[in-house]
Amino acid sequence: MAKKELIRVRVNGRDREAEVEPRLLLVHFIREVLALTGTHVGCDTSHCGACTVVLNGKTVKSCTAFAVQADGGELLTVEGLMKDGKLHPLQEGFKEEHGLQCGFCTPGMLMSSYALLETNGHPSEEEIRWGISGNLCRCTGYQNIVKAVQYAAGKAQGATR
């Protein structure tokens, strides 16, 4: 077995560290080492986006990155979206607009939408569809996911007024 590496990652605002095999994928680090199972493994081949997390402000497919690459970085998973016992506007939007059915793609959809709204607070419908183009949903036909993101964008806009 290859030499283990000590990695330190700030995960959802909390410092975590672990000794990991270099081949450990980021998604398995998140799910199995950190026990944060909100991040899903879907296709495992970087197509579906269910494993999307935000690493240093940018979305990555955590099935296609090694945990060692996150060393020294900052990670946000779906568990980190809720603040002070209140759902994030995106989570609220997915609930209100029926943005999920089976829910499998939802954590990844939320993280991609989160990163989109961080850089573009008022995305057009087309920008939303491009923003989530790396995430597959087999239930909703995407329509309600787009509405959910619009809901969150609208809410954030309202809050800053």
């Binding site: 495992d44 970087s46 690459q69």
Partner: protein, 289 residues
Amino acid sequence: MIPPAFEYLRPKTIPEAIAFLQQYGDDAKILSGGQSLIPMMKFRLARPAYLVDINRISGLSYIQEEGGHLKIGGLTREADLEHSDLVRAKYPIILDTAHVIADPQVRNMATVAGNLAHGDPANDHPATMLALGAQVVATGPTGERVVPIEEFFVSLFTTALQPDEIVTEIRIPAPAARAGGAYLKLERKVGDFATAGVAAQVTLDDKGACQKVGIGLTNVGPTPLKAGQAENFLRGKKADQANIEQAAALAAADAQPSSDLRGPAEYKKALVKELTRRALTRAVQRAAK
């Protein structure tokens, strides 16, 4: 899927990275964006004993014009191209290309240099770089050497890079006043490899004739291809509809597709013709602006 075990090396400088590559030779692979390498490791198509993670080397991520070239650093991500005002304003063909590579998450990690160094004829930047007449800067134990893009793609998954060399920069000639380009790709869905893709870059002279023409083809041969017959035909000729049609037909003749899940070879040739027609038309429109 769990990739095979490997030793992880994280150099801080280019010389340190090259020393690792020299030490471990064919047993080592460079980990850059990893968006092709990691899937290949999962499928056991690659089993490097050592991964040299170059992502912590500073000073390799940039997009800037200097000395008549656009310079793209060896660690510049696809997403950086999409967000670059310079690329947006002056190199729309590169923006076209970056925009249709994989998906947003993959583009956040994937590097332009990796897209070239992987030597995959299905990757999108090679055709665009062929059309633009780019140069690849490879840094090895004895320093830098500049490889013209026409000499870079040797065979399937094989480039002119030596095992101890790293792509540290890509240089693209800055466009003349009346130059324009476009990249068009047909894909079955977002994130798929191209059924076929065509990059076209045209420089017009003051009479509206094509002074320079570059046409690159994606995923229709064992390597990325330069559509030489089409380029030769169009060079010096007026960029009108009839000549573009003729060049498009020649580009289809330049293509060497094979039949696969994405369609029969005959269909792909027809597709190259149509995509070339459209890419040239858009390139000329952009050049004339």
